[in-house]
């Protein structure tokens, strides 16, 4: 019932949850991929290094930036949820905690993304 989500004008809490779920499942999907490539490490340097070109492709780098944004967002918002759960006054500051989590997210993400993009540009 995807239409249900469209029918409700999402308050901030709902947005943060939708993103949390989306990023969580997205990271999980990447994790599967990552396990496969690490598994291939066992087959020796040739195969592994041959495959590394995938990781160096610009499209993949952009994908990785999205992945890292997802991890950061999910981590920051996950902490916010945990605070709401275990701190008895957390419910009152749910909104503030969200803004806090977003601040942490940007503080961490912007430098990370900058470094990654710089590295990519260097390489090209």
């Amino acid at each position: 019932m995807v239409s249900s989500y469209r029918g409700y004008r999402a308050p901030q809490g709902m947005l943060s949850w939708a993103l949390h779920r989306l990023t969580g499942l997205g990271v999980l999907l990447f994790l599967f991929l990552h396990i496969i490539d690490i598994f291939l490490v066992g087959y020796g340097p040739e195969l592994f290094d041959d495959l590394l070109f995938i990781y160096h492709h610009p499209a993949f780098v952009v994908g990785q930036i999205a992945l890292i944004a997802s991890v950061y967002y999910h981590a920051a918002n996950g902490i916010r949820i945990i605070l709401v759960d275990f701190w008895s006054n957390g419910y009152k500051y749910e909104r503030q905690l969200f803004y806090g989590a977003m601040t942490v997210f940007f503080i961490a993400f912007i430098p990370t993304a900058t470094i990654m993009i710089m590295a990519l540009l260097d390489e090209l």
């Binding site: 019932m1 249900s4 989500y5 029918g7 409700y8 004008r9 308050p11 809490g13 709902m14 949850w17 939708a18 779920r21 949820i81 709401v84 759960d85 275990f86 008895s88 957390g90 419910y91 749910e94």
Partner: protein, 232 residues
């Protein structure tokens, strides 16, 4: 002032799917949205159907989506919405007609959690069971619930997951679990500890945002989670 209403209409006797009716009404800025609905019904289209009774936010009849969020039509003033207002039925329940939805499952979930005082000890004749103001205060917030359904149908989990008992049922269980006179907490907590109970809640806060009685719904749910976790 002139206000344009877009109202989702559905009459099972003749429609196969919902459609939007457009109505322009002249209202006072301080009129309730419910007043405008009445005006439309009485003066423009007699077939428009919705539930209402008290007209001041205490009976819980007229929860609906107003500009995309669950609200009581009788507690919202037109001036707070401007000149375009969209009205749709609550999500997640079967629409009976226009803005009227089927509340049977909603009340069934409520009944699952023994929403009545459980205490088999005979009370003294001609006197009350004692309870201090502090004990009374603990569950004060959740006694305000008017069973309007705004919280449950604002919760994204209930839109897709039929098992979830929903915030309203939990709120009413909370009202008894923390009542010092009640002895039924364990049975209620057993249900709430199950797949359909509080663990389904993902702290989305839509319920709290929607509650027209200002009940801290998520807080009540979180309190129950903590009680289940710590046994207190």
């Amino acid at each position: 002032m002139q206000v344009q209403f877009r109202i989702e209409r559905f009459n099972p006797d003749q429609d196969t799917k919902p459609w939007f009716g457009e109505y322009t009404v002249d209202v006072e800025p301080t009129d309730r949205v419910l007043d405008a609905l009445n005006l439309i019904k009485w003066r423009q289209d007699g077939t428009l159907t919705f539930r209402r009774s008290c007209a001041h936010g205490v009976c819980g009849s007229d929860a609906m989506r107003i500009n995309g969020r669950n609200r009581l039509a009788c507690k919202e003033l037109v001036r707070d919405y401007g000149s375009k207002i969209t009205i749709e039925p609550m999500l997640g329940f079967r629409v009976i007609k226009d803005l009227v939805v089927d509340m049977e499952d909603f009340f069934a979930s409520y009944r699952t959690l023994q929403p009545y005082l459980v205490n088999d000890e005979p009370p003294g004749v001609g006197r009350e069971r004692l309870q201090t103001p502090e004990e009374r205060e603990i569950f004060d917030d959740t006694t305000k619930c008017i069973m309007c359904g705004a919280c449950t149908t604002a919760c994204p989990i209930t839109w897709t997951n039929e098992d979830f008992l929903g915030p309203a049922a939990i709120v009413n269980a909370h009202r008894f679990i923390y009542d010092s006179r009640d002895h039924g907490a364990n049975e209620r907590l057993d249900v709430l500890n199950s797949k359909s109970g509080v663990w389904r809640c993902r702290t989305i806060f839509n319920c709290t945002e929607a509650c027209p009685r200002g009940i801290e719904v998520t807080r009540a749910i979180e309190q129950i989670k903590r009680t289940l976790l710590t046994g207190e």
